[in-house]
């Protein structure tokens, strides 16, 4: 089959690789029709996440048709499914608490040692990510093996175009959980750093959850316009002093909740950012946490800090003083996708959530490298790239 493979910094290729096969009774094989490039794929593309190996198949946002099932799969051949990026067993302590992204049983045992040593606990398995999370071959391919296929995949009824449901795999529930973690109350103002896909879905979700005002912060004009289109007020940090503006726009109170939808490759021109970048360049595993620092600084006393942005290492100058002295609540984590699948599918069906506004480009799988390059280097215009396989029947 054809698949998008990682070969190093800014080097992804489309290659012919062996087809996946059933390895465990609960597996299924999916023939992919649509698969998206995610901001966290760009972290891999930029080479700032450890644990990648040459030839790894990328992609964790994908959907398609079931073509083969193991003895204990509950899927049927021919069904259309969207597959959550988190691999979860459904029966461990964490899965039973619906903390699916903390599953104990999906990361192969030998791959658990590294994160157990560096984070104190082993991470769960993820598709198309690093070998720290199992090195599972990803979904930017013609076929994917899906473990625990009786727990993860969302069966999509007829009548939904791929592009309307594809983002149930990651960014829609991730934006939704980010807003949920902000514990929004009536009258609240929520400030969102980063108008990438997760930030935009967090904005949409926060408004649906009853936020009075959402303020979106970015510097890409096109992305800010998308945020405005959803009903957010916007701040362009390249022309505005963000903290001061947030105070003035919230009656001197500060935002009730702040969402860092930027993560470890935070942009910006502040001095802390320069230090972060210098250390990232020499490979110290330092996360650039400029957006998170600014968010904590801006958040009102007793407010909530929600962090859907991806971090992997350590960050310097973390404002522990502001966190404690202002009595902030901090919530974060990989998304418990399976917790939100049904509800969000219903909201899409009811026309309450539209996700297609985000898609700026559709490309054939073969042109994945073009998609990666532009998504990484032309973020203003390339807001979301969906790759289409031949099986989708799509043509440009």
């Amino acid at each position: 089959m054809r698949a998008v493979t990682w070969h190093g910094k800014h080097d992804v290729r489309v290659e012919t690789v062996p087809d996946p096969r059933i390895l465990n009774p609960r597996d299924a094989i999916i023939e992919v029709t649509s698969t998206a490039i995610c901001g966290s794929d760009v972290h891999l593309y930029d080479g700032v996440v450890p644990g990648m190996q040459k030839g790894d198949i990328l992609g964790h946002e994908f959907m398609g048709r079931v073509v083969e099932v193991g003895a204990d799969s509950t899927l049927n051949v021919g069904e259309r499914v969207v597959v959550p990026f988190t691999i979860s067993c459904g029966s461990c302590f964490f899965c039973q608490k619906t903390q699916f992204s903390a599953c104990d049983n999906s990361n192969p045992v030998s791959a658990q040692d590294a994160t157990e040593a560096s984070y104190g606990h082993a991470l769960s398995g993820l598709f198309g990510y690093t070998h720290l999370t199992g090195g599972y071959p990803g979904g930017q391919a013609e076929y994917v093996r899906v473990p625990f296929s009786d727990v993860g995949p969302i069966v999509i009824p007829d009548g939904f175009e791929d592009d309307t449901v594809l983002f149930l795999s990651d960014i829609l529930p991730t934006g939704w959980m980010a807003a949920e973690n902000a514990e929004i109350e009536p009258g609240d103002t929520v400030a969102v750093w980063g108008c990438g896909p997760v930030g935009l879905f967090a904005i949409q979700s926060a408004l649906l959850m009853g936020a009075e005002t959402v303020i979106a912060i970015d510097h890409y004009p096109n992305r800010l316009q998308l945020a405005r289109g959803l009903g957010a007020k916007i701040i362009d940090y390249s022309q505005t002093r963000v903290s001061e503006a947030l105070m003035e726009m919230t009656g001197g109170l500060g935002p009730d909740a702040v969402i860092d939808a930027v993560g470890m490759e935070s942009h910006g021109f502040a001095p802390d950012r320069l230090l972060d970048r210098a250390k990232q360049a020499v490979g110290l595993g330092v996360d650039s946490a400029h957006a998170l620092r600014e968010a904590i600084y801006a958040c009102r006393k007793g407010g909530r800090v929600s962090v859907p942005g991806v971090y992997g290492g350590f960050s310097d100058s973390f404002p522990t003083g502001a966190l404690m002295q202002k009595g902030l609540t901090l919530r974060s984590g990989q998304t418990h996708v399976q917790r939100y699948s049904k509800e969000l599918l219903h909201r899409i069906a009811d026309g309450e959530i539209d996700t297609t506004f985000l898609i700026s480009h559709r490309l054939p799988l073969e042109e994945a490298a073009t998609g990666y390059h532009n998504f990484a280097f032309n973020q203003n215009d390339w807001t979301k790239v969906v790759l289409k396989t031949p099986a989708s029947g799509w043509s440009a």
Partner: protein, 219 residues
């Protein structure tokens, strides 16, 4: 469990005590009023102590939470034929006749592949069996490997399943030959135990063991 201490480690211990006394003395001069409280034993298991345990055996232990009923977990472990399913270094476990000629599974022969690909066997006897609660075993007298261990099963908080703790001790290797043999046999016991318990958990909680179809990554 027997403990014997070599004269070399006695000398080392004496030096350490001397150093500690010196350190305390120096600190005492700096802050004569800060009386150090008498240390009380804490609630943590001995194997987590910062002080190394003197003696002939090195002890490793690990606890895992398995979201299945206690009796089921015990029964699975007690059936020797199941062990190679989660102890990845084991090739096979053969049940041997007991002293009275019956095959009760208390005497077994564990065969594993060593680091150079050869097969090695050691006879293991269950020395204490409390159904649903505990299984303890030891290697046969005179076996190449002197190992003993136990696994305990206890109820976790309501709704959380079973707490499984495995503790294994290996005789400290005697000399260079013993050292090499022990390494060939056992690799890293702590790592093997951690992996075995995680595989057991996967098997009992999900019915399968997570894999990507090839061996451990080379990272």
């Amino acid at each position: 469990m027997t403990h014997s201490t070599s004269s070399k480690s006695q000398r080392t211990a004496a030096l350490l005590v001397a150093a500690a006394v010196l350190a305390v003395t120096v600190m005492g001069v700096r802050s004569a009023t800060a009386a150090r409280p008498q240390l009380q034993p804490d609630s943590a298991p001995a194997r987590t102590s910062k002080r190394s345990q003197p003696g002939r055996y090195s002890v490793t232990g690990r606890t895992v939470l398995i979201n299945r009923p206690r009796q089921e977990v015990y029964d699975f472990w007690r059936d020797a034929a199941n062990l190679p399913q989660f102890m990845e270094d084991l090739e096979s476990v053969e049940v041997l006749p007991s002293d009275d000629g019956t095959a009760t599974g208390t005497k077994t022969r564990w065969t594993s592949r060593n680091a150079i690909g050869g097969l090695e066997s050691v006879d293991i006897s269950i020395v204490h069996d409390m159904p649903g609660e505990m299984i303890a075993w030891k290697s046969a007298d005179g076996a190449m490997v002197d190992t003993r261990g136990k696994v305990t099963f206890s109820n976790a908080a309501e709704g959380r399943g079973t707490i499984v703790t495995a503790i294994q001790s290996h005789a400290a290797p005697g000399g260079m030959v013993g050292n090499a043999l022990a390494k060939l046999w056992s690799g890293d016991p702590a790592l093997q135990m951690r992996h075995a318990l995680k595989r057991l958990k996967m098997l009992l909680e999900t019915g399968e063991i997570a894999t990507v179809g090839h061996d451990a990554p080379k990272t």
